[in-house]
Amino acid sequence: MESEAKTPLLEIRGLRAGIGDVEILKGIDLTVYPGEVHAIMGPNGSGKSTFVSVLAGKPDFEVMGGEVLYLGKDLLAMAPDERAREGLFLALQYPVELPGVRMREFLRTALDAVREHRGLPKLAVREFNRLLQEKARELGFDQEFLKRNVNEGFSGGEKKRNEIMQLLLLEPRLALLDETDSGLDIDALRIVANGINKFRGPDRAIILVTHYQRILNYVTPDRVHVLINGRIVISGGRELALELEAKGYEWIRQTVEAG
């Protein structure tokens, strides 16, 4: 594979994590190269959300072992906002409402923080507005939408599209998408998938967590991993997702147990 020659964007070795004393991730190894899309699939409760949350630094979780290198740096030693400024982005499964916080102000503050870290100048108001409007349009939002408070009173689909809009605005290196496809109707799914494909690029990578293979019809993964009970039990190409769809997770469990 051509990417073998490049430096990995992300190297995860033996990652174990959980809440309190309860171990949820029981040793995960994964290497992601620039340009790749990895899909993480698995039944409910297998640890998919925990996995990306731990990578993003969510304080609810405790790392119990292993290491994660992001562009060669110790990711786990960084605060969540530091990770974000370094180019990591988590699209949340349940985006949080921020009452009284306007979209425009929030996104401007975020973009300023990220750009400052990258040594780029702040955008002038007019430039920022133009950029934001362009990204909003790509996700099917109008001007009025940008005047609202972040996620407050948004429909489920609007919340998910808002996450992808932020992804396109902030231009990270590594996107972690936590079930961004769940609960979307087919039109919203197309818009979201379109946004993800726009984000794809040779220097960027995506870890896409999903319960269903439906989104993979629109966003073609390079690798598919199946997470069960806190471990990646099988990895493969695009065809693995299709096989899963046809046979169900029970099939994997039996296959794995049979060795």
Binding site: A79, P80, D81, F89, E97, G100, N149, Q166, L170
Partner: protein, 445 residues
């Protein structure tokens, strides 16, 4: 018990000195004596059982300590000390009280053309004795309230504000009560009487501010009467010192077709009590009460608010919000009463809290007592959202913790601050929210 007896004896002794040094007309002397008797009968409301109004606030520390009247001659107070800590627009009339006593040398009273009349209590007794006798102690009923009784017993000075019939006061009036500057534990008893004539209008700000950290007691009573058709825009700011005990009573009486907007801002201290009672005693009136309280460390702040709908066709809104950090404790007890006559009442209340720490605690108890059909009443769920999720969400976009907290808190506070109609006060409060929370203070703040 012996210690407690000594405390009450100390109040009696101080009362004798007050009677000796500050003689007042017979009717007021009688009022003060009666109030002292009531206070001694009842004692401080320290009972931990069957004491609903004080269920969450234990005033034992106040009952145990001996707070003394401040000395006659106070350490010097500079205007600059106040200007830095308070909203200070040039256009406002400013009345400064130190330890409960009026300080004309630091004040800018309203001018004759401003439409509003301010009198220090002593002057009001001499010039408007009858008016005072009619109103003083009428709204702030002390018979069943120890702290109101104590304030009334020690009535010596205060602010009397009068807006004549039909007058719309031009100038905003700022009453500034500065806690005593002595090192020892002092008590002050600020007193305010506001009389709005028919069809009159006033903007009034009351500030209670401490300039030193040590323990002291502020026992404050404000009585406000809105006669038919009057409108009042009222703000109350609690900016007491870290270790202060502040027990504050606001009593509002609304006549026919009156409008009250009252916004409270409270920064926590050892014990802070914001006790408000609004009586809607004639049809066609409205009372909008908004509040924002911010607590940190081991602070304790107790909102105890009662709105009494007695007559038909009145509207009330009681919307409060709290921001809690550290191990602080805040209480919202809001009760709206709808009496049997009060048909077509329209009442709503809601209290929301933002918990920045898992150790902070809020007890939020909105309540409706309805004795009448044909009303529209509601109360919002008492929400205490822990801010963790929101803060993580914002940090996951690259905002550092301080920036994320500021955005979140400013957004949360906006719902209350948007009700502040004085721009200079609004921007002061926006900054004060940040100053009240150590976690938000940046370099150089």
């Amino acid at each position: 018990m012996a210690q407690t007896t000594a405390v009450y004896e100390s109040y009696v002794q101080q009362f004798r000195e007050l009677e000796r040094d500050f003689p007042v007309p017979a009717w007021l002397e009688e009022l003060r004596r009666d109030a002292l008797g009531r206070f001694l009968d009842r004692g401080f409301p320290t009972a931990r059982r069957g004491n609903e109004p004080w269920k969450y606030t234990d005033v034992a520390p106040i009952a145990r300590a001996t707070f003394r009247y401040p000395a006659r001659h106070q350490a010097s107070l500079h205007l600059g000390d106040l200007r830095r800590r308070l909203p200070w627009p040039p256009g406002w009339a400013k009345l400064v009280f130190l330890g409960g006593r009026y300080r004309p040398d630091l004040s800018h009273p309203p001018q004759p053309g401003d439409g509003v009349l301010f009198l220090p209590l002593a002057q009001a007794l001499a010039e408007r004795g009858e008016l005072l006798e009619e109103h003083l102690g009428r709204q702030a009923v002390y018979q069943d309230d120890a702290f109101t009784a104590l304030n009334t017993a020690f009535l010596r000075d205060g602010a009397v504000v009068i807006v004549p019939d039909g007058v719309e006061a031009e100038r905003t009036l700022h009453l500034i009560f500065v806690s005593p500057l002595e090192e020892e534990a002092t008590a002050s008893y600020p007193r305010v009487l506001v009389l709005l004539g028919r069809q009159s209008r006033l903007r009034l700000v009351e500030s209670y501010i401490g300039l030193r950290p040590g323990p002291y007691l502020t026992d404050a009573v404000s009585e406000v009467v809105l006669q038919d058709g009057a409108s009042l825009e009222h703000y109350r700011l609690l900016l007491e010192g870290e270790q202060a005990y502040h027990i504050g009573m606001g009593r509002f009486y609304q006549g026919r077709d009156t409008n009250l907007l009252s916004v409270f801002f409270g920064q926590g201290c050892t014990i802070a009590r914001n006790d408000v009672r609004v009586v809607l005693d004639a049809p066609g009136s409205s009372a909008y009460l908004h509040g924002l309280y911010v607590t940190d460390g081991r602070q304790h702040l107790d909102n105890y608010i009662n709105i009494d709908h007695i007559k038909p066709h009145c509207t009330s809104r009681l919307f409060y919000r709290g921001i809690l950090d550290g191990q602080s404790h805040a209480i919202f007890g809001g009760t709206v009463y709808v009496r049997p006559d009060a048909v077509k009442t329209d009442a709503e209340q809601e209290d929301k809290n933002l918990l920045l720490s898992r150790e902070a605690e809020v007890d939020s108890k909105p309540a409706l007592e309805i004795y009448c059909d044909d009303v529209k009443c509601g109360h919002g769920a008492a929400a205490g959202a822990v801010a963790d999720e929101a803060l993580f969400y914002m940090r996951s976009r690259g905002l550092d913790e301080r920036m994320a907290s500021i955005l979140l808190i400013r957004g949360f506070a906006a719902a209350v601050l948007d009700e502040v109609r004085l721009p200079s006060l609004r921007s002061f409060l926006e900054k004060q929210v940040v100053r009240s929370l150590p976690r938000l203070r940046g370099e150089g703040d």
